[in-house]
């Protein structure tokens, strides 16, 4: 297996409007791949295409030996794609515990528990297990969203702006955690992020998007290149 997740020439439409144009990304296994770009360039659309939430109009997504193009989101999740959406999308009326338990759906009975490292990473969740997800503060919800994705024991973790609304100390923890997941748990990670310093610190590969297209692909160091940065300017 050379690569964990490959997307190839994706096109995506919202009604008549085209949001993605021939987007291709390759996530190397055991690596953190970051996608960057300004507002509205199609980053989230790409991730939603990967998870199956948005239907694509052309292109191919493959995961290991499987092609995902026609699989519904739950099949992809069960294959091992964990998703942390932008805007958290917590189940508001479920308690924190129940929110975490929704991740059990694709697991064997023996695996139906919350790995300890999750609570080490986000201790606040442990104290709030019985509070309803919707009542949490924004940052707490973001932490819950990440934790919830980890409960599914993903092989690939797809995160959409995971640091949004999170306090600095926990951002650092998340960074360390992603590295831990990559190194110790062998996860492949695909990350959309605006927070450049964060990317620079943890990403292995970067892709830069503009207007629905990939404008640049390369190692994380490329972030300091002028031509790359220009895509991120207003």
């Amino acid at each position: 297996m050379t690569s964990a997740l490959v997307i190839d020439s994706l096109d995506l439409h919202y009604g008549a409007a085209q949001a993605l144009r021939r987007v291709s990304i390759e996530c190397r296994p055991n690596r953190i791949t970051a996608v960057l770009g300004r507002n509205g360039v199609g980053k989230s659309s790409t991730l939603r295409a990967i998870t199956g939430i948005n239907a694509i109009s052309a292109g191919e997504i493959s995961f290991g030996d499987e092609t995902l193009r026609r699989s519904p989101p739950y099949k992809r999740a069960r294959m091992g794609i964990g998703y942390v959406p932008q805007g958290r999308e917590i189940f508001p009326l479920l308690t924190v515990r129940e929110n975490l338990q929704t991740g059990y759906a694709g697991l064997k009975h023996s695996e139906r528990n919350v790995p300890d490292y999750i609570f080490e990473l986000f201790p606040v969740l442990k104290t709030m297990l019985n509070r309803r997800g919707g009542d949490l503060s924004g940052g707490q919800q973001q932490q819950l969203a990440i934790a919830r994705a980890l409960v599914t024991r993903p092989k690939v973790l797809v995160l959409d702006e995971p640091t949004e609304g999170i306090q600095p100390s926990i951002i650092k923890d998340i960074g360390r955690a992603l590295q831990f997941l990559r190194d110790e748990k062998g996860m492949t990670i695909l990350l959309v992020e605006q927070y450049l310093d964060f990317c620079r610190e943890i990403a292995d590969d970067i892709y830069v998007m503009d207007r629905g297209e990939i404008m640049h692909a390369g190692p994380a160091e490329d972030l300091d290149r002028e031509d790359v940065r220009r895509h991120l300017m207003v």
């Binding site: 009604g15 008549a16 199956g52 939430i53 948005n54 239907a55 989101p73 739950y74």
Partner: protein, 406 residues
């Protein structure tokens, strides 16, 4: 400013509707009265009354659409306003009978003589005056809507909770009007009318005039609704529909916006009811039945919610279907009607009116690759696809969605 608002009311679509209605208001009575029966072009009496009835239903549906389609208030009790307007008219017509009732009492309607009333109850006073009765047609539904809305909107009753209490309201009125002791004729209601404004109610000319009056009233309602929804207030109504609390944080008095729409709508419904009664010849508590109000919602949805023309088309088509099928397929018509509702929801999510927009978007859509055939997103994709393919105007592309578990 006001002229501008009036001008705006007659936008492209509305002006057509108003014009067509006004032409109908003249043409149909003319075709009925001037062209002799048997000649081509003659509109028989039967159809005049029938279509007069449909137009009152159209008015009711339009009234509902103002609150539901534009303001997000799903009233399941709009039939109550219609019925109250109808009763006010019915009371006037009852009093016009005078001593021609079976018991020959000059003042008391028959059912009161029979129930040993010695004098007219206070709420029947003055109803022999046309102007007063018409005032009541407007005032009673308006006032009920105002009081009901005042409390409900101030208490921030929304969504299904509001829908269900409007249903409770009409249901309670249904039961109350069924009671003989209420003084409204019990379940038989008010019937056996003789004249309206001194004209015999069954005369062809009266029928034709009533039809014309209804068409004009509907045209006026279209004009008023169009003026409202095309104004900034209309935008605020939609804002309230979609994100009520956000509108509050912008400083809009959501409860007044809703109250305004609700009262205007109730008044239109009441006038529709008042025009309905002389044309069908009876008003009875059945009009308060919750199922009737639900039907109004359905006409609106079938025609296309959140548009001016939609509810009118919906009301007329569904009722024409009902008239036709109850005669042509007396034993099967419920299958036809039920099937129509299912069909419309599945294939015309924006109603009959949306069909046109859908057609427009069709070619574009055809060139697109098919979405995944199985699986979860299809439901969503389907819904939003259709929404996208529909009108691309800025009004209502999306229906306000009450959150499921709230």
């Amino acid at each position: 400013m006001i002229t501008q608002a009036l001008f705006r009311a007659l936008d492209k679509k509305a002006i057509w509707v108003v014009a067509i209605l006004l032409v109908i208001a003249l043409a149909v009575p003319a075709a009925n009265l001037l062209i002799p029966p048997g000649s081509p072009g003659h509109v028989p009496n039967y159809l005049v009354t029938l279509f007069g009835k449909y137009l009152t239903y159209a008015m009711l549906a339009l009234a509902l659409d103002l609150v539901w389609g534009y303001c997000g208030i799903l009233s399941l009790g709009h039939g109550a306003f219609f019925a109250l307007g109808g009763y006010a008219m019915g009371m006037y017509l009852m009093r016009q009978i005078g001593d021609r009732g079976v018991y020959g009492d000059p003042v008391l309607p028959d059912f009161m003589v029979f129930l040993n009333y010695s004098e007219l109850p206070w709420f029947w006073q003055g109803m022999d005056q046309f102007w007063f009765a018409m005032l009541m047609v407007v005032l009673v539904p308006g006032l009920l809507a105002f009081v009901f809305g005042w409390f409900a909107f101030r208490s921030r009753v929304t969504g299904v909770y509001l829908s269900i209490i409007t249903q409770a309201m009409t249901y309670a009125l249904l039961l109350a009007f069924f009671r003989n002791d209420m003084g409204f004729g019990g379940n038989n209601g008010l019937t056996d009318f003789k004249d309206i404004l001194g004209q015999p109610i069954t005369a062809t000319t009266t029928r034709a005039s009533l039809f014309a009056a209804t068409a004009i009233a509907l045209a006026l309602s279209v004009f008023i609704c169009s003026m409202i929804v095309n104004s900034k207030l209309g935008k605020v109504m939609i804002a309230v529909r979609d994100a009520e609390s956000r509108a509050r944080f912008l400083g809009y008095r959501v409860e007044y916006v809703k109250l305004f729409a609700f009262v205007v709508s109730a008044v239109i419904a009441g006038i529709a009811g008042a025009l309905y009664v002389p044309q069908v010849g009876i008003i009875n508590p059945g009009e308060f039945a919750p199922a009737n109000s639900i039907e109004v919602v359905i006409w609106t949805a079938v025609g296309g919610r959140g548009t001016i023309i939609g509810p009118i088309i919906g009301a007329i088509i569904v009722n024409m279907g009902k008239s036709y099928f109850t005669g042509a397929l007396p034993e099967l018509w419920l299958f036809a009607l039920g099937g129509l509702f299912v069909f419309v929801t599945l294939f015309l999510p924006k109603g009959i009116v949306g069909l046109i927009g859908q057609w427009r978007g069709y070619s574009e859509w055809r060139n697109r690759p098919a979405p995944p055939s199985d699986g979860a997103p299809s439901g969503e994709a389907h819904a939003s696809d259709l929404a996208e393919r529909g009108e691309n105007t800025k009004t209502v592309t999306r229906a306000p969605q009450p959150k499921p578990a709230e």
